[in-house]
């Protein structure tokens, strides 16, 4: 494997008493697209937040280019964060400014570029996600899919070294899905950016990812290049890739057996 940008070593994370990750290790190679898949609610968003240093693990290391994220001081953490960006699952556009200003925001914050250059950069990113015509709109005037694309444009505004995409394809029609897939690919190939893509869309992920991790039950249950994943015989992995609801991967949030609960209710 090539050089590694993010290296997670034996990391354990708990929400209250519930273990989300139990000593997992994974590494994200530089300049590649790494996909993270797994059932809903398993902690994929949590993983991205851990990499971004917004929450701290119980134990273990999260190394970003040699810096151990949980150990960094506040100032160092902010320095490191300048090298990454994140597309939030909810988009998280700033509602008090227009689409244009949203995308210009990180550029204005972190560079001293003139407004002329900023305008060119912003329009370029908006064009890439097909929203150049929507630059004057407010986030509240966008559809769900448009808002996600605007957020995507914002997260790539500064072409940071590492981009964490939380479900970039959610809510997109097939055409814009294709556009986004190509955009992520281009960023990786042309600029050598490292991408981490969290997604459930198996075919899209398979088409762009260089390496895939599948997470379930607090652990990594499968990893490899797309071909390796397809070839894996593990029933867990096969169930996920093929999208079967019946199988070893539980579709439900941990709960008492359904029948028991129903009968328990009835007897009360």
């Amino acid at each position: 494997m090539s050089e590694i940008l993010v290296d997670i070593k034996n990391m354990t994370f708990k929400r209250n008493e519930r273990v989300i990750y139990d000593g997992i290790s994974l590494s994200i190679p530089k300049g590649k697209i790494t996909a993270i898949m797994g059932p809903s609610g398993i902690g994929k968003t949590t993983l991205l937040r851990l990499i971004g240093g917004q929450i701290k693990p119980e134990s273990g290391q999260i190394l970003f280019d040699g810096h151990d994220i949980p150990q960094l001081s506040r100032n160092d953490l902010y320095e490191v964060r300048k090298r990454m960006s994140m597309l939030f699952q909810s988009g998280a556009l700033f509602t008090d400014m227009s689409v244009y200003d949203n995308i210009a925001f990180p550029i204005r914050e972190h560079t001293e570029l003139s407004e002329d250059i900023i305008e060119k950069m912003v329009l370029m990113k908006l064009e890439a996600v097909g929203l150049r015509g929507a630059r004057g709109l407010r986030p509240s005037e966008l559809s769900g899919g448009m808002a996600r694309r605007a957020a995507l444009a914002r997260s790539i505004a500064l072409d940071p070294e590492l981009i964490l995409y939380d479900e970039p394809f959610a809510g997109q029609d097939p055409i814009s899905m294709g556009v986004i897939v190509r955009l992520i690919q281009d960023l990786g190939q042309a600029l050598g950016l490292t991408s981490v893509v969290v997604s459930h869309d198996v075919p899209e992920v398979m088409s762009i990812a260089d390496y895939i991790y599948i997470i379930a039950e607090q652990k990594i249950i499968g990893q490899g290049t797309p071909e390796e994943i397809y070839r894996q015989t593990s029933p867990l992995v096969q169930q996920f890739v093929k999208g079967e609801s019946d199988g070893p991967v539980p579709f439900h949030f941990p709960a008492a057996p359904y029948r028991e609960e129903l009968i328990g209710r009835g007897s009360k």
């Binding site: 990454m84 998280a92 556009l93 700033f94």
Partner: protein, 258 residues
């Protein structure tokens, strides 16, 4: 035992909450945004916190001044002391009503809005997204709002008192026939700059600090859900109102009881 434990738990919770609020305030204040970027932010907040509170302050100040004059006149005229209407109104406004009522109105008008706005930014992950962009939300979101509130309220309190005195002049002099010269000169003779006006300003500065601090902290620390925001907004208004009234008593005791 059970009750004792609950009490202890509550107290520890309160104290650690206070500690967190203090930490938040300190990091917001000591990490000021640089002036070139910070000033427009402050300006925007001065607009939404100060300018937008102006109408309610002007109207309430005017009416309270008018009511004070009306009430005061009917009492004073019984003693033939209607000449003291001016100082009575001015002193009530400068020492108490100006700082206190404008702080209460400010808590309801601007404080609740601050809490709700910051809370909603938190709930919609805008604060997280700022953090991930390496922009400290304490600097970018909390600090300008805090300063705007801290600057606005003393100005609003001064406007409140001034308008109130004008309202009293309107009722006392123009309607009830107190002599205008008497109104002003007796007032001037009794109102002292250091003792009354300065102390009133000090009060409103303290209230501004407290109300804005509570408002931004409640928003910043709220649970990021609809109920969380609504609870935080309510408790901003309730807690800052109670604290203003309590502090007012303490400050009054310190300042005017000689």
């Amino acid at each position: 035992m059970q009750q004792l434990q609950i009490l202890g738990h509550t107290i520890i919770g309160q104290i650690s909450g206070l500690g967190r609020a203090l930490l938040m305030l300190l990091s917001a204040l000591f990490h000021m945004p640089n002036p070139r970027k910070g000033f427009p932010l402050l300006l925007n907040q001065l607009y939404s916190v100060g300018v937008l509170s102006l109408v309610i302050i002007l109207v309430s100040g005017l009416f309270i001044g008018m009511v004070l004059a009306l009430q005061g006149y009917t009492i004073l005229v019984g003693y033939g002391a209607e000449a003291s209407l001016g100082p009575m109104v001015a002193l009530s406004l400068l020492r108490e009503l100006g700082p206190v009522v404008s702080a209460l109105l400010f808590a309801g008008r601007a404080g609740s809005a601050l809490t709700a706005e910051i809370g909603l930014m938190k709930a919609t992950e805008q604060l997280s997204s700022l953090e991930m962009m390496a922009v400290d939300p304490l600097r970018r979101v909390v600090a300008p709002r805090f300063w705007a509130g801290f600057i606005s309220l003393p100005l609003l309190a001064a406007i409140f008192s001034a308008v109130g005195i004008l309202g009293a002049h309107l009722v006392g002099v123009d309607w009830l026939g107190v002599d205008s010269g008497t109104f002003w000169s007796v007032m001037q003779a009794q109102v002292s700059f250091e003792k009354d006006i300065l102390n009133g300003i000090i009060k409103s500065v303290v209230f501004a600090f407290v109300v804005t601090w509570i408002a931004v902290y409640k928003g910043y620390a709220c649970e990021p859900t609809s109920e969380g925001i609504s609870r935080a907004t309510t408790s901003t208004v309730v807690q800052s109102s109670l604290l203003v009234l309590g502090l007012d008593f303490v400050l009054t005791a310190l300042m005017f009881a000689n």
